[in-house]
């Protein structure tokens, strides 16, 4: 079933997104059944037992115990949604991470009001970082210039590029306040908490240009803390990454306000 169309959701571009959409759908079926059931009963009862139609009330009211069965039914459906869908989903998608051999692993460092992206480059090792080296434009994540591992690292501002079909593991940290890293088309949303590095992961299934949104109030520029997500084919991604490492670190003016 096309849940995206049914609920007017953002398109789904990740391997696990359909599962999230399906659980959204299943919960809404439960909600709809309960609501329609109650609503029909409600209207009937308000018409049938209005004072004009029923001048004397019945002291005893409903005698049957059908409502107990309805409540037991609700408990069972909720238990199925919980144990059958939601908890297993969390265990395998949010709490467990794919094997590290075939993944892209990057860091995203949030700040008021931008997303700094840090790639480890050809050696696959992230260079040391420290806030004393931070420069807003030329060294946004604070790479240590004396660390050899950092020489080939690539950093961008607001530009997140990933290859399609490969699990992407993103380590999220924040320089200042709480942000929330939201990729609506990937069905990914993860709070970014200062002082903690929190990993999140997903596998993009579609190439294209998508958006990164901040989902947690982070100050006056919260509304414009938008990032740009580009999903490439593997070849295109490799080409992009090598261009970045030769082009030098950081960005230039106007670099960060569209997909580049």
């Amino acid at each position: 079933m096309d849940f995206v169309k049914l609920f007017n959701l953002p398109i789904n571009a990740s391997s696990h997104g359909h599962e999230v959409d399906m659980i959204i759908y299943l919960v809404h079926v439960l909600m709809l059944v309960l609501f329609v059931g109650w609503a029909v009963y409600f209207i009937v009862v308000l018409v049938k037992f209005r004072k004009g139609k029923n001048p004397a009330a019945n002291y005893r009211g409903v005698q049957s115990h059908i409502t107990s069965w309805i409540e037991i039914g609700v408990v069972i459906v909720e238990a199925v949604l919980l144990i059958g869908f939601s908890i297993p989903f969390w265990a395998k998608q949010v709490n467990a991470f794919p094997k590290r051999t075939d993944t892209v692993e990057i860091r995203v460092i949030a700040e008021q009001f931008a997303w700094n992206v840090h790639y480890s480059g050809a050696d696959g090792i992230f260079g040391k970082t420290d806030i004393q080296h931070v420069d807003k434009q030329s060294n946004p994540v604070g790479l240590d210039p004396s660390d050899a591992n950092g020489k080939d690292d690539v950093t961008t501002i607001n530009q997140l590029h990933l290859p399609v079909g490969k699990p992407a593991i993103i380590h999220l940290t924040s320089k200042d306040v709480i942000h929330s890293f939201s990729l609506p088309v990937m069905r990914v949303k993860q709070d970014v908490i200062p002082g903690i590095s929190i990993p999140t992961w997903f596998t993009p299934t579609k190439t294209g240009q998508f958006e990164i949104a901040c989902a947690q109030l982070c100050g006056l520029g919260h509304y414009r803390m938008k990032g740009f997500l580009t999903i490439h084919s593997q070849e295109e991604f490799d080409r992009w990454l090598s261009e970045q490492s030769t082009a030098g670190k950081g960005g230039e003016e106007g670099y960060d306000d569209f997909w580049n």
């Binding site: 007017n8 959701l9 953002p10 599962e19 959409d21 659980i23 959204i24 919960v27 439960l30 909600m31 309960l34 609501f35 109650w38 409600f42 009862v45 037992f49 209005r50 004072k51 029923n54 004397a56 009330a57 019945n58 002291y59 005893r60 009211g61 409903v62 409502t67 409540e71 609700v74 909720e78 238990a79 919980l82 908890i87 969390w90 949010v94 709490n95 008021q112 931070v134 200042d176 306040v177 929330s180 609506p184 088309v185 949303k189 993860q190 709070d191 908490i193 200062p194 002082g195 903690i196 958006e211 949104a213 989902a215 947690q216 109030l217 100050g219 006056l220 919260h222 509304y223 938008k226």
Partner: protein, 578 residues
């Protein structure tokens, strides 16, 4: 003794109406003050709705009065938008709804319903009101300090709140006053309900409203102290250079933050939600109580499943202390903790379903009168139903990944609190107005208030579910205009804003009704105009100082309507005999 009925005539104006220890006067003081705050909080929202519908356009008429540091040229600044958001939430919850439910209705009605002459601690009761007023004034004053009022959301998450402008300090001080007020009230309610029930009024004969107030008082008493502690810690972070909520290595606007660090950002969230989730039930339980009273009275039969309702209310109270972290699913939780909080959240939905079902089933077999209080009470049921049901996808962590912090959440909790609780409050005002003033409110104006309010409430909050499913985040100054994936649902902002202003327009019949009915001579001829069974109606109207001329004795349960063989279709609780 201040609550001795025999010396009430010796009190002067100040003692009688301003520094009164009479629970009824305090209730009215709370009611009038909180209604003003409720209206003020609504006005803040109407300003925000302009910015959301017409981002970056000057606010008509009032824009130029807001000042250059809030809205230069009438165009709202993002800083001011964030102030409005934080203060709308704070004012509506802590200065509007809770003081109305607990301070006004609880104070006025509970002692009357249990046959007591007053609260056990009348002076604490007075102190509670004045602490509340001090908290409210502190919050209002905070708009005029440099940098304006608090602007980090009503949740005040650090580090943002730690590094925010001075308004945040005043927010914390205001909260300390409000928490003090609530704690004084809570102690009073608990002791009053335990100690001052009339002879024969056993716990299982208490009206549902009293039960709701009792559980609410326990929630306030047990949940507020952690927030008060957290507030003091945040205050120290802000003014004394501590780092309770600040980790090491922070960097703000390109400069390292000069703090010792080592604190925990998430500690605040745990302490905050440990209060704020029980607070959700503080916002809803008394409204359920009001609705139960009015429903029973207007269906002219006993409530169905009274005992199930009472046990459900108690169970809700307990459970509300172990669901708080469902507000924090996306903070990096493991499966075990996550599963625990999902399970408790699903479990807490069960007693809510039971209460709602009991109220629905109660309607069957009734002889239903549709007066204004009943219309609001009846509308509460499906509105609260929608609010409750839309909590399910948020309570399960998998769908919450997509819906967390979106307009879906705003729609969900507003259905609970606005057409839910606030309709309950309106129902209560129309219902108890004759007891409080000796006059009835106008039915035509009541209908003119109810029907458009019902329509506009739904036009405001229903589209938010659509926006939320499309992925629209909360608290965006331009309503999400920056984002390509939200373009399809942006136009709904206009409809929502128009409906909000429409809702404001149709509160005028209520305000006119309230003032006009107080002045007009439509005096009720009976002390019990709704032919009700509970004790508050078995007093003179309005009740004098000390409430009951003779202490009532209770012989039966609270909702003995249409008893077979009885002469009338209602048998008051204090009527002697079988």
């Amino acid at each position: 003794m201040s609550n001795d009925p025999h010396n009430s005539h010796r009190l002067n104006f100040w003692q009688k109406y301003i520094f009164s220890t009479d629970h009824k006067v305090i209730g009215i003081q709370y009611g009038i003050t909180a209604l003003c705050f409720l209206f003020f909080g609504f006005c803040l929202m109407m300003l925000m709705r302009w910015q959301l519908a017409y981002p970056g356009e000057p606010i008509p008429f009032i824009g130029k009065f807001l000042g250059e540091n809030r809205a230069p040229g009438g165009i709202m600044l993002p800083e001011f938008y964030n102030e409005l958001g934080a203060m709308h939430g704070t004012i509506m919850v802590f200065l509007g709804v809770v003081p109305l439910l607990v301070g006004a209705f609880g104070n006025y009605i509970v002692p009357l319903q249990i046959g007591a002459p007053d609260m056990t601690f009348p002076r604490l009761n007075m102190a509670s009101y004045w602490a509340f007023l001090a908290g409210g004034i502190t919050m209002l004053v905070s708009f005029f300090v440099p940098g304006g009022a608090a602007n980090s959301g009503w949740t005040s998450y650090p580090p943002l709140a730690d590094i925010a402008t001075t308004g945040q300090t005043l927010w914390i001080l205001g909260m300390v006053f409000l928490i003090t007020s609530s704690l004084l009230g809570a102690v009073n309610f608990i002791t009053t309900i335990f100690q001052l029930r009339a002879p024969g009024l056993t716990f299982m004969r208490l009206p549902v409203f009293v039960w709701a107030q009792l559980v609410t008082a326990f929630l306030l008493l047990l949940a507020f102290p952690p927030l008060e502690a957290a507030g003091i810690l945040q205050l120290l972070d802000r003014v004394a250079g501590t780092s309770f909520f600040l980790p090491s290595g922070l960097m703000v606007s390109g400069e390292p933050l000069e703090v010792s660090g080592g604190g925990s950002v998430l500690l605040w969230q745990h302490l905050f939600w440990f209060l704020a989730h029980p607070e959700v039930y503080v916002l809803i339980l008394p409204a359920m109580g009001i609705v139960s009273e009015i429903l029973a009275n207007n269906i002219r039969k006993p409530l169905w499943g009274y005992k199930s309702m009472v046990y459900s209310v108690i169970f809700l109270g307990f459970m509300s202390f172990i669901v708080w972290a469902h507000h924090m699913y996306l903070t990096g939780m493991g499966t075990a903790i996550n599963a625990f909080f999902q399970a408790t959240t699903m479990i807490i939905s069960i007693p809510s379903v039971v209460i709602l079902t009991c109220l629905f089933i109660s309607l069957w077999g009734g002889s239903i009168r549709f007066n204004t209080p009943m219309l609001f009470a009846v509308a509460f049921l499906p509105m609260f139903g929608i609010g409750g049901l839309t909590g399910l996808p948020l309570g399960l962590s998998a769908p919450d990944i997509h819906l967390h912090d979106t307009y879906y959440v705003i729609g969900h909790f507003h259905y609970v609190v606005a057409p839910g609780t606030i309709f309950g409050i309106f129902a209560g005002i129309y219902f108890w107005f004759p007891k409080i003033t000796g006059r009835k409110m106008n039915e035509f104006l009541g209908h003119l208030h109810f029907w458009p309010s019902l329509l506009f409430m739904n036009c405001i909050f229903m589209p938010m579910f659509v926006q939320g499913l499309a992925g629209m985040s909360r608290r965006l100054y331009d309503g999400g205009a920056q984002y390509a994936h939200l373009q399809g649902t942006l136009n709904l902002h206009k409809m929502i804003s128009m409906s909000a202003w429409g809702l404001a327009l149709f509160q005028l019949p209520f305000i006119i009704n309230l003032i006009w009915s107080m002045c007009k001579r439509n005096i009720v001829t009976s002390d019990n105009p709704w032919k009700s069974t509970t004790l508050e109606w078995q007093t003179p109207t309005p009740p004098g100082h000390g409430n009951f001329p003779v202490e009532p004795v209770v012989y039966r349960g609270p909702y003995e309507y249409s008893v077979p063989g009885a002469a009338e279709d209602f048998t008051p609780q204090n009527k002697p005999g079988g």
